[in-house]
Symmetry: C2
Subunit: 405 residues, 2 copies
Amino acid sequence: MIRTDAQRLWGSLMDLATIGATPKGGVRRLALTEADRQGRDLFVRWAREAGLAVRWDAVGNIFARREGTQAVPPVMMGSHLDSQPSGGKFDGAYGVMAGLEVLRTLNERRIATRAPLEVASWTNEEGSRFAPGMAGSGVFTGVHRVEEIHESKDPEGVTFGEALKAIGYAGAGRPHPVGAYFEAHIEQGPVLEDTRTTIGVVQGALGQRWFDIVVTGQDAHAGPTPMELRKDALIGASRLVLEVNRIAREYPDYARATVGFMQVRPNSRNVVPGEVRTTVDMRNASDKTLLLMRQDLEKSADAIAAECRVAIEVREIVHFPPCEFAPALVDAVRRAAKSLGLSHRDIVSGAGHDAVYLARVAPTAMVFVPCEGGISHNEIENARPEDLAAGCDVLLQAVLESAGI
Amino acid sequence: MIRTDAQRLWGSLMDLATIGATPKGGVRRLALTEADRQGRDLFVRWAREAGLAVRWDAVGNIFARREGTQAVPPVMMGSHLDSQPSGGKFDGAYGVMAGLEVLRTLNERRIATRAPLEVASWTNEEGSRFAPGMAGSGVFTGVHRVEEIHESKDPEGVTFGEALKAIGYAGAGRPHPVGAYFEAHIEQGPVLEDTRTTIGVVQGALGQRWFDIVVTGQDAHAGPTPMELRKDALIGASRLVLEVNRIAREYPDYARATVGFMQVRPNSRNVVPGEVRTTVDMRNASDKTLLLMRQDLEKSADAIAAECRVAIEVREIVHFPPCEFAPALVDAVRRAAKSLGLSHRDIVSGAGHDAVYLARVAPTAMVFVPCEGGISHNEIENARPEDLAAGCDVLLQAVLESAGI
């Protein structure tokens, strides 16, 4: 059974990580900045050195192609090279470098595949500089129009289109059919590490519902205002936080619910809070259960409002239905892990990935590998060379099965 | 029974409120600003027109004096003319104008008192521009040294001493003995309005303990991180908010406890909060009970920390013991209300006032009148002319009883 070159993969990841390197060992490679350009240039150079045909489309998605023996849609691997403002060396970069490593390995072994193979580097997955995120894959899969993405502005007022031109990656061409899509990625969660598992066989991605919430009470002086005459918005908000936590624990199928943001007004130590703005992020593998969670949230908010004598406004701002990956490809990933003798377990992605959009237009699967402490979107994000190599080997096997030899 | 002039009192308050007037009907007269100078100038002019001897001390406290028939320490009335950044027309101003109105009434009626009478306007009660608040009365009563107050800087780096000189109110002289101190004030709470009572006979002021609290968990992605592997600082903080509320309701003697401030980190809707900084403000009429409340808070914090797998640091930063006003003067206020046929009830001040410091050096009492909705430190702060007049009448009677005629 052939293997990829663990050292070459690690070396490529480390070389790439010198671009936009941060003091604590992370990277800052915001989409369409000079650092992003340098990262792209390096990937393009390596791809060309590997004999791949490289092109980019109207939103800067880069495709590096190795022809197959038949004229069928390519089997594609990929992820993204942009990072969070204080991002890590592996989030995104791993999926692109793993794809490149698969092709380098096939070249070395002179293995031809039936279907062509492509490595895609999707533009602006993170959405940290330009909203929305997953922009490149979103355009490729018809979720967004090119013009809409081009018009998006960064905080300095620079448009996506201007920034793309400035770094020399404004290409052309319409989306092409994809035979299958595989994305390797660090888990960005603690489950694999916690269960000492090397390979996550990703079943799909959780559905998401996001809410903006405003709790309105009445400002009052903390000293002269008796407890029974208060309308304390923070008490209402605190009860809501605990209800959100209860909801996450009551519903099956990977339910998650998080209050990550809170803004208290006037936010003074001796004033009873008159208003709290907060958010809820709910996720579930079942869209039906996700709706039940939403209904539970709304009911809980009403009950708290009545008991705490405050008003609670709950507004849904995002709904992503759950994404189920292609069973045949998921099986291929599982089989690959098994045949390589790697510990593996089924897992569901809690986060969004380019693969979630690709799944709309092609059979799709993902391979997860552990990351240290489950931490990512952080400079201290870390992963072990042997785990990254194992994930790359799984990717190679699954791609070979899919593309045919 | 003689009365003060309700219209004249209201007129003075409204004239004073034109200085630093804000669009919504409030005032912005931060300590030692040009607006404060104008307010002081107007008070000084009115005091001199009323034949009073005016002087100011080293921190700008103004004393307007009407001699008595005997050389004994004066009976003093007063409060402050500075305001919150978005303050109201009555907080502080009422106590000074009511004192002036008492002296104007006695002049009109040609009533001589045995003890001299003084109206004091204390510098920087609010502490909004220079910390600490209650600075003028604090120096007068030996809580603070003059130098320490002079060195305090505003956010622009201007010292109290420079600002005081600039507005022409840097005087001299040591604190003088005070025979009795009365302060009329709006309640700044909802109790009188809620119980349809005109006069609050203030027994004293609640003791206070202030805490800074840091809850430390671990940042994590809201999507990929299962509930059971989280260390959510906001869940710990929310439970603490509810415990603080429980504590306030479990302890007798006007217990109040408030979480007014909260800062969540990183404060992003799809990140499990890793840190929450918050505060607790606890008040009680009994210092012993206040200590029990503190112990309950610390025990609750420990229990929450263990259950939520977070660390909770509780640090006390302020302890004011409760203040008990002089029973004879409190009785005088109650008798005055009764003899004037005004509804009245015993009440405890939840907020700090200059009177709390004056109580350290002289028999002291306060007279509260209702304010609309219990709201103050707000431009919409409001009070009814008839209530303000009633409070002023009570002040007159209590002062006459105290000073002797």
